[in-house]
C-alpha cells in the first residue's frame, strides 16, 4: 500500500513538474518584424487578443490572429495568457458578436498561416507552437 502511495505521489509530482513548464513552452508569441515591441505584460497581450485594447503600448494598431478552434496550442495560449478556459473565451466572443460590438480575431488553421499573416500585417500579433520556425517574424516575451 505504501509503495502504491509513494508511486502515486511521485507520479503526481512528476506530472505537475512536467505540466507547468510545458504550458509556458507550448507556444511562442510573434509580431511583425517591423514592430518595435520586444515584450508584453500578459494582461496587455490578453487585452489585445480580446480586442479590449486596439494598440500596442508603442502605439502600433494591433491586429491579433488566433489559431483555429480545437488547436492544443490555442488552448494552452488561452489558458496561460488570457487566463480563462477556452469555453469562457468562446462565450465572451458570442456576447461580443451578437451584441454587435465586435468579432473575434481572424483564426488560421496552421502555424504557417499565422506566420504568413503576421509577416504581411505590420500590426499583427499571433502565437504558434513552440517548435514552429519563426523566420521573418519576431518572437516576443509575454510575462
Amino acid at each position: 500500500m505504501k509503495i502504491i502511495s509513494k508511486l502515486f505521489v511521485s507520479a503526481s509530482l512528476a506530472l505537475v513538474a512536467m505540466a507547468s513548464p510545458a504550458l509556458a513552452q507550448d507556444f511562442k508569441v510573434i509580431v511583425n518584424s517591423a514592430n518595435s515591441t520586444t515584450e508584453l505584460p500578459s494582461d496587455v497581450a490578453a487585452k489585445l487578443f480580446l480586442k479590449q485594447t486596439t494598440k500596442f503600448p508603442n502605439g502600433t494598431p494591433a491586429q491579433p490572429v488566433d489559431l483555429a478552434k480545437g488547436s492544443a496550442v490555442r488552448a494552452a495560449f488561452t489558458k496561460s495568457v488570457l487566463g480563462r478556459a477556452v469555453a469562457a473565451v468562446e462565450s465572451y466572443w458570442q456576447q461580443q458578436i451578437f451584441s454587435g460590438k465586435d468579432v473575434p480575431p481572424a483564426a488560421k488553421p496552421s502555424d504557417d498561416e499565422v506566420i504568413a499573416f503576421v509577416k504581411a500585417n505590420p500590426g499583427a500579433i499571433g502565437y504558434v507552437s513552440a517548435g514552429a520556425g519563426t523566420g521573418g517574424v519576431k518572437v516576443i516575451d509575454v510575462k
Binding site: A87, S91, Q94, F98, S99, G100, K101, V103
Partner: protein, 380 residues
C-alpha cells in the same frame, strides 16, 4: 487566344485562394437559433397553448463586412414565431433588426448609424441568442417582445476609472417600434406604435470584481402621432428608466432589473413598474440550473373623476429551468413556469366594475396557468 485563356485560368486559380482569404478576413457570418416546444396546462400564454405547439422559434442571421480597420457594416435578420401569440399578427416573418455602419475612433469612441442594437439593460443586445441565455426568453416583465433596436445613432465610449473600476457609456438618439399586447374585456389588443425623437443613455459601472456590474438606462421619447393632434390630446414626452445589477461568475450568477415609466395622456395617467430577479448555478461546465421571478404593477389614475386609482398587478411569473450545454455553441433547455395574473393570450376576468357609489372597481381573482418550454439553441 487559347494561351491567353489558359494564362487567365491559371491566374484565376492562383488568385482564388487569395480572394477567399481576403473575404474570410473581411466578411463575417454568424447565426443563432432557438427552437422550442411550448405547452400550457390551462390558459394560452406567451404563445404556449394547451394543445402544445412546436411552431415556436427565433432565428437570427448576422452578416458583417469590415470596410477597413476602423469601419464596418453589420446586418442582422430575425425570424420569430411565438406559437399562437397574438403578437404574431404584427411580427414580420423576416425582420431586419440591425443594419448599421460603425466607425471606431482612435480614442476608443465608437459610433453606429442606421438600425442599431438598442443598448438597454443586461440582455437587450443578445436577447435572441439562446446559447447565451439561461431560459428561452429574457425577463418578460422587463423586456417583452419590444424595444429591440433604435433607428438613428448610437455612440459608445469606455472609461477606465482606475483600480479596476470601469465605466461604459452609451448614448442614442432616433426612434423605435413599440409592440405590446393588452388584454381588454372584448379580446386581446395588439399595439404596434412608434416612438420618435427619442434620446437616451445606458451607463454601466464595472467593478474590480470581474462579472459584477450595475447599470442605469434612461430614455426620453415622444409617442406618435403627435404633431397632427390638438395640443390637449398630445402625449407628453415620457421618460423610461431601467436599473440593472449583475454578478456573474463561473459557478453561479444572480441578476435583477427593474423598469419604470410614467405616462400622461389626458385624461389618464399611467404609472408602470416591473422587474425580474434571476439566479442560478453551474454545478458543472455543461449544466445550468436557474430560477427566475417576474412581477410588476400598473397604476392607472383617472384624473378629473371620482374614480380612485386602479392598481393592476402584472402577471407574476415564476420559472425554474435546467440547461445542458454540450458545447458553447449548443444548449438544450427545459423550463417550467407558473404564471398568475390577468394577462394571457386570451381575455380573463380582471376588473369587477362598481355597481354603485362609491365608484370603486375591484380586481377579480387572478387567473393562473402553468406552462413549459423545451428548446434547443445553437449558434455559430
Amino acid at each position: 487566344m487559347h494561351n491567353t485563356l489558359k494564362r487567365a485560368a491559371a491566374l484565376a486559380l492562383t488568385l482564388t485562394p487569395m480572394v477567399v482569404q481576403a473575404q474570410d478576413d473581411k466578411l463575417s457570418i454568424h447565426g443563432a437559433a432557438s427552437l422550442a416546444y411550448a405547452k400550457s396546462d390551462m390558459l394560452p400564454i406567451n404563445g404556449a397553448t394547451k394543445d402544445g405547439t412546436s411552431d415556436y422559434r427565433i432565428i437570427a442571421l448576422q452578416f458583417g463586412y469590415k470596410i477597413s480597420d476602423k469601419d464596418r457594416v453589420v446586418t442582422q435578420l430575425l425570424h420569430r414565431k411565438i406559437g399562437s401569440s397574438p403578437l404574431n399578427a404584427i411580427t414580420p416573418a423576416i425582420d431586419p433588426v440591425w443594419a448599421f455602419y460603425e466607425h471606431r475612433f482612435d480614442n476608443g469612441f465608437v459610433t453606429k448609424v442606421g438600425r442599431n442594437p438598442l443598448p438597454r439593460g443586461i440582455f437587450n443586445e443578445v436577447r435572441y441568442i439562446g446559447t447565451l441565455l439561461p431560459l428561452f426568453r429574457v425577463g418578460n416583465a422587463v423586456y417583452g417582445e419590444t424595444l429591440e433596436y433604435v433607428d438613428g445613432v448610437v455612440v459608445r465610449k469606455p472609461f477606465d476609472l482606475g483600480s479596476g473600476w470601469k465605466l461604459d457609456v452609451s448614448g442614442f438618439a432616433g426612434g423605435y417600434d413599440i409592440k405590446a399586447q393588452i388584454p381588454t374585456s372584448s379580446g386581446i389588443s395588439v399595439i404596434n406604435s412608434r416612438n420618435e425623437n427619442t434620446i437616451g443613455s445606458q451607463v454601466w459601472l464595472n467593478t474590480p470584481i470581474e462579472g459584477v456590474r450595475a447599470g442605469v438606462f434612461y430614455n426620453n421619447y415622444q409617442g406618435t402621432p403627435s404633431a397632427s393632434l390638438p395640443a390637449a390630446q398630445r402625449q407628453k414626452r415620457t421618460t423610461t428608466l431601467m436599473y440593472s445589477a449583475e454578478a456573474a461568475f463561473t459557478k453561479a450568477f444572480a441578476r435583477a432589473e427593474l423598469t419604470t415609466f410614467k405616462q400622461e395622456q389626458a385624461p389618464n395617467f399611467v404609472d408602470f413598474m416591473s422587474y425580474y430577479v434571476q439566479a442560478g448555478v453551474n454545478p458543472t461546465e455543461k449544466i445550468t440550473l436557474v430560477a427566475e421571478y417576474n412581477d410588476g404593477r400598473n397604476i392607472v389614475r383617472f384624473s378629473g373623476t371620482q374614480i380612485p386609482d386602479l392598481s393592476l398587478p402584472l402577471n407574476e411569473d415564476l420559472a425554474l429551468g435546467v440547461a445542458y450545454k454540450p458545447s458553447t455553441q449548443v444548449s438544450f433547455k427545459l423550463e417550467g413556469h407558473k404564471s398568475e395574473g390577468y394577462s394571457f393570450d386570451r381575455p380573463v376576468p380582471s376588473v369587477i366594475p362598481p355597481t354603485g357609489l362609491p365608484l370603486v372597481a375591484k380586481l377579480a381573482p387572478a387567473s393562473k396557468t402553468y406552462y413549459l418550454l423545451a428548446s434547443v439553441a445553437f449558434s455559430f
